[in-house]
Symmetry: C2
Subunit: 337 residues, 2 copies
DNA sequence: CTGTTAGCGCGTTCAG
DNA sequence: CTGAACGCGCTAACAG
């Protein structure tokens, strides 16, 4: 079956193409009855405008790009959920791209999107990324970007984040008040804004509670799960005084959890774990993992709203529209602490 | 900064637009040195062809649509991962749409995609869907579809599934051999192919082991999590002889798990749970949940490969290309059974 | 109120 | 080997 276009509708109705076009778009120039006649036939023939022709003409794609490191992570999944919801409400389409934490993929993708394929971009930076030229290319082409979670401070645009510093502080405080004296911190790649801020919160909390901060307790968890688990095991073996772990992200929490189990370190008696995580199931673990849970769905929605608002009004996004949402401390259910 | 197009390149080089176009596409009609000259400048000016103009002209969008019920589910996340990977290898773009299990959303989305926005579709059907007219519209417009996991048997196209019947059988058998006599089955919406097949496997296993199949032990879990949990609690209270639960999907497994915990039914002593789930963490639960784990990533990849192969060779997809991949029974780690 | 005309940027004839 | 001309399907400016 051939896909029907304006020309065919026009022929069928003995009208001109532009009249049909206007009628369908409810242009005030067109009479009520012609509008109805046109719409009726369009309906019958299942007419759908060709989006590419329309985009070419209007220089608007009604499409946004979402660039994230991975999707097999509850946080990003929920964010996508929020984004898709808002996009649908605004009649936008969502293109998705995964960097897998790779800088070069992020570059390639960004470059592709500089072609006008998308009207705007929502993005969370790859852990490998340290240079931002590819992002500057985008802004130089006037493609608005809103960052979420993992942001790029060098670009003056809106960022939607969690209160990472306070959350890191809160997490550490939680462990200290539960009696921990020697707390390890499992950091996600040191390039990332979130990692830095969470760590700063950790450092500040130790300071405030008069605990000296030992740099060797802060380890990088930017390897594979298996490697991170080994790193953790090694640390725990060499430093038996460790009685608390603060993991920066979900995956690191799980690696820590497994490391403890394998070393037969009783949780939470010998060692207490807290982590950023949007994994609902973490609260079912026994003993349940205390988590700092980010408002992922809301982050997706808010980031998308800022972007669509800018696209809608056709005005640039300013850094002042940035938003910081609060995370939530979800305590262990079945076990004290 | 204005985005550079063929015309500008042509002017700069004192060539015609079509020559530049051909040079960039490595057309044999163009001399080697002009090609290089053109490509060099294109590189310098960061030229990226306008995808919409190109799509309009070639009637190919280099884009596929992925329609799934939800993304906050590890199975679908992993599938997306596989799809995106293959798409990237083939230089395709991925549009994502979530139905949230809603029939009307699925209709709207399908209708939108009938416009030529995508060259093909990968899809897993919403649980509400019972009528397939919207999908037939797509095939009537020659838009190839490959179904995965939740398929539509009324359409003669390729489907990538898990061996659901055998898996359901295996799951039930596992419980029986672990000593369960009275096994409840928590069914996902009865419309879905996967639900039916898994249930059939369950019924067959009971039969083979000479256990009479009591229809009241099969309950529908198509409500919200909280409601499903209540349903489960009610069932468990009214039928204390239940000593095994086979849940059809991840969410239902969690609801069952919680229901048991709340009723203080010891797992696995009083009651054993098995479930389809791609939630890695399920194996960390204590007692760990035995799961039937689907090869989600591979399903995504294979489905995408079938689609791209068809798009590439420009020939229709036949049902004979369907694939059935095997799931894996992941047994409890920490606890026997 | 309706129709005519002129592109959007690119790829594909067909002439030279 | 290169260029001129046309049209993909749609929208917008301008006539009537």
């Amino acid at each position: 079956m051939k896909s029907v276009n304006l020309k065919e509708l026009a022929q069928e109705l003995n009208l001109s193409i532009s009249t049909v076009s206007k009628a369908l778009r409810d242009n005030y120039e067109i009479g009520q009855e012609t509008k109805e006649r046109v719409k009726k036939l369009a309906q019958e023939l299942n007419y759908e405008p060709n989006p590419y022709a329309s985009s070419l003409r209007r220089k608007k794609s009604k499409t946004i790009g979402v660039i994230i490191p991975e999707v097999s992570n509850n946080f990003f999944s929920q964010v996508i959920n929020g984004i898709e919801e808002v996009a649908r409400e605004n009649d936008y389409h969502v293109l998705i791209y995964l960097t897998n934490e790779s800088y070069s993929r992020e570059q390639t993708i960004s470059h592709h999107l500089a072609s006008g394929r998308v009207d705007g971009i929502l993005m969370s930076i790859a852990s490998e990324t340290q240079d931002y030229a590819h992002l500057k290319e985008l802004t130089s082409k006037n493609i608005p970007i809103v960052f979420f979670d993992r942001v790029c401070d060098e670009l003056a645009t809106a960022k939607v984040t969690t209160n990472d510093f306070q959350s890191g502080y809160m997490a550490t405080q939680h462990l200290i008040e539960a009696g921990c004296q020697c707390i390890a911190h499992l950091l996600i790649s040191s390039n990332l804004s979130i990692g830095q801020k969470r760590m700063q919160g950790y450092v500040k909390a130790l300071e405030d509670y008069g605990i000296t901060c030992d740099a060797s307790l802060i380890v990088n968890g930017d390897k594979t799960d298996a490697e991170n688990r080994e790193t953790m095991k090694q640390l725990l073996r060499s430093r038996p005084e460790i009685d608390g772990i603060f993991a920066s992200v979900e995956r690191l929490a799980m690696s820590s959890y497994e490391a403890c189990k394998e070393l037969n370190l009783a949780i939470p008696e010998n060692i207490k774990i807290i982590s950023f995580s949007n994994l609902y199931v973490a609260s079912l673990l026994d003993p349940a993992l205390t988590t700092i849970t980010q408002p992922a769905y809301a982050i997706g929605k808010e980031a998308a709203k800022i972007l669509f608002n800018s696209l809608d009004k056709n005005k640039p996004i300013s850094a002042t529209q940035s938003l910081e949402l609060s995370s939530e401390l979800i305590k262990r259910k079945s076990t004290a602490v």
